[in-house]
Amino acid sequence: MAELNYRMISPSQTSIESGIRSLEGPEVCFAGQEQLIMPIEIEVHKPVEETLRDREHELSQLINMVPSHLWRLTPEGEPTFFNKRMVDFLGLDVPDMDKPGISRLEAVIETVHPHEAAEFRDTLNRCLVTGEHFTMRYRLRRADGVYRWMSSRAEPMRDPGGHIVQWYGLCHDIDDQMHAEEALRQSERQLQQMIDAVPVRIWSVTSMDGPVYFNKRYQDHFRAVIPDFEAIEEPRIETLLQELICPEDAPEVQRTLLNCFESGRGTVMRFRWLEKDGAYRWAECRVEPRRDQDGTIVQWYGVSLDIDDEVRAQEALRNRERELSLLVDMVPSNLWRLTPDGETTLANKHMADFLGVDLEDKRQLAVVFDAIFHPDDVDAVSDVLGRCLKTGELFSMKYRLRRHDGVYRWMSGRAEPLRAPDGRIAQWFGLCHDIDDQVHAEEALRRASEQLARATQAASLAELSASIAHEVNQPLAAIVANSHACHRWLSAEPPNVERAKITAERITRDANSAADVVSRIRALFRQAPRARSSENINHLIGEVCQLMADGIAAKGIRIETNLEPDLPSVALDRVQVQQVFVNLVRNGVEAMDGAIVDGARALQISSLRDGNDAIRIEVRDAGTGFEDTESVFQPFFTTKQHGMGMGLAICRSIIESHGGRLWMANNETRGATVAFTLPLEASEAP
């Protein structure tokens, strides 16, 4: 067998090897060497023996040094050679395979992992029979019992007659590679699982027209919505647009995506998509491109999220906000909001329209608010508002506001603070409504009422004359009767002068009484300054009590006086003040007479000092009291069946003309007290 000592170079010309090749069969080369080998130089022939030895050595070295397992089988599959690495790996050499009862091949198969052993046996047997190349991956047991993945190949060597002479096999350790691949697969699987598991719908596409990758959730979505989804071989964006997205939104989505793909910029879009129950739900889709190192877009990714609940909540919120805003704007009042410092931060449309300001311009609002109050009101408003802001008390007042056309209108304004949970004032909310018409109506009413009062005063002169007639008539009736009697006594035989005298005195007394009434009434209407005399008020009270004692005692009522001694004299109109006393005493008596009063029916009259410059007189009854202690002073107010209702009104004007005051209060227990003051320094009231 002639052999050739050669050096060879691989096609890539990166490595050069030298070796020996059989001259008879140059195609026979080292098993596992699949590259074509280009002989480039043939060296001188060596003497055959030497050559053989060298070759033997080199070959043996080579076989043992290649980092793979090399082996050889008989055409029947019996192993005949393992290289050293294989022996080392298995911990067995070929002779070690010889075990009783089993063939060497079976012994080899034993070292294959039980999972692959059967396949290994079948494949190898088939190859041995058919002469096909053997190629397989399997785990092989290392000497230490660890199985490692091997990639194995074997080819038969045939003689010139085509008969298989030997099988040469090679296997190399791919365990690390297998684990790496496994890890990679694992990682991929996890990634996939993750992509499928995240509750979003993910898609990716390379171009607008290209097929789209959808994650499982997206596919499930499709399946639920598109009846013949399985028939769609390659879903595209178009499919999405046609089948899934609300027809109203689809054109916009398409436009957005086209823009996106053209510009290379990501986008966010919202649209409604069909859900399996046939309803549309809102979704948000974010689209981003992935670029390679050069910046070229290689893929587009999209993430679609169901945001329906959120959108609807927002919509509901917006609707509510719109409604509230509408409400705020539509209420026919001016609404406003202030910061705790009093800065206006909000006004409703009604107010803006009234003031003629643009609501959008907050600065304008603040400026306008400084100039909208009537000059006569601005100080009062800022005083009150300032106090309210400081103390937190409710703001409520009437003022005039300038309308956009410069007309001031009366407003009734109120504001309340909104407090934070800690009690601090967070905002002030105010409301003011236009009461201008009302104010004017009230004013007109007041004017009318004044006119009416004057008219009534004039008219009541006639009515008053009836009252006056009664007041004057009583003494007149007495005078007339007395004068007739007097005449009779004098005309009698003999004349009864004593009785005549008495009646004449009574005539004088009653005539004066009538004259007093007349002048009192004249004074009431003229209110002319009257001559005043210095009087002791306690004496005056005593006279009145004496004057009225009869009638009062008849009603079973007692008068109790509690007079402070040594009161200074007061300059007063004797008749008028006496009239006041008479009136008050009569009122008190009548109040008690009308009331069912158990216990003492006593009228208390007291006099006392009221400060340094006045004295006070109180008439206290135990009657029914009054519902309204102020309206009793109005002329013609009466609780009596036969009263004119002038008494207290006249009393008050008399006391006021003396520079004093007259008022009434209901007692705590029962009845009412009328009190009046008279100043020590007489003042001439107009």
Partner: protein, 221 residues
């Protein structure tokens, strides 16, 4: 002027008026008693004399017209109203209620005297009418039951025969009853008896011209 046996009551809440009217009445020779309130007048034990009540319309305890209404059920002296401001409806009401007069203050002497006198005269007449009636009633009470049966028949104008037939007694017997009745009632004639029966409101049960006789056949043959 000597005091008459007549009484004037005055009710007025104004002491001055009360006093003056009292003075005037006394100067005119009347006894007078004054009261400030209607209740006081009611409570007063009044002497049995012809009297008059001068009543102020505006009284503290009751309106004079109301008081008049309350009094109307009992025997009371005729009323003369006096008022500070007389109005027509009140005066009409007062007069319809039986008042003698309705005077406006101040009251003149002549008006007062005339009114008081008229009132007392009316009271006197009423009193004598009341006295006569009670005397007649006393006489009627003295009749026997049979005589009380005969009386209506006689005053109805039935003949003795008719009346006897009506009662089923003899004409003679009836004549005896009739004569006793005339005596007991102190009637001087049949006409007198008829007048007395009228005052006593004895009903006329039979008329001579009525068909009652035909309906009541005579029992005498």
């Amino acid at each position: 002027m000597s005091q008459r046996k007549e009484m004037v009551f005055v009710v007025d809440d104004d002491a001055r008026v009360r006093e003056a009217i009292n003075e005037l009445l006394e100067s005119l020779g009347w006894q007078s008693e004054t009261f400030a309130a209607a209740a006081d007048y009611v409570a007063y034990a009044k002497p049995d004399l012809p009297a008059c009540l001068i009543l102020d319309v505006e009284l503290p305890d009751i309106n004079g017209l109301e008081f008049q209404k309350q009094l109307s059920d009992d025997v009371h002296p005729p009323i003369v109203f006096i008022t500070g401001h007389g109005d027509i409806p009140s005066s009409v009401r007062a007069i319809q209620g039986g008042a003698v007069d309705f005077l406006t203050k101040p009251v003149g002497e002549n008006d007062l005297v005339a009114a008081v006198r008229a009132a007392i005269d009316r009271d006197r007449i009423q009193r004598s009418a009341r006295a006569e009636l009670s005397e007649l009633a006393r006489r009627l009470a003295a009749l026997t039951p049979r005589e009380r049966e005969v009386l209506p028949l006689v005053v109805s104008g039935l003949l003795n025969k008719q009346a006897a037939a009506e009662l089923g007694i003899s004409e003679i017997t009836l004549e005896i009853h009739r004569s006793k009745i005339m005596h007991k009632m102190r009637a001087e004639s049949l006409a007198d008896l008829v007048r007395i029966a009228e005052k006593l409101r004895i009903p006329i049960t039979h008329s001579r011209r009525s068909g009652s006789l035909q309906e009541c056949p005579t029992r005498s043959p």
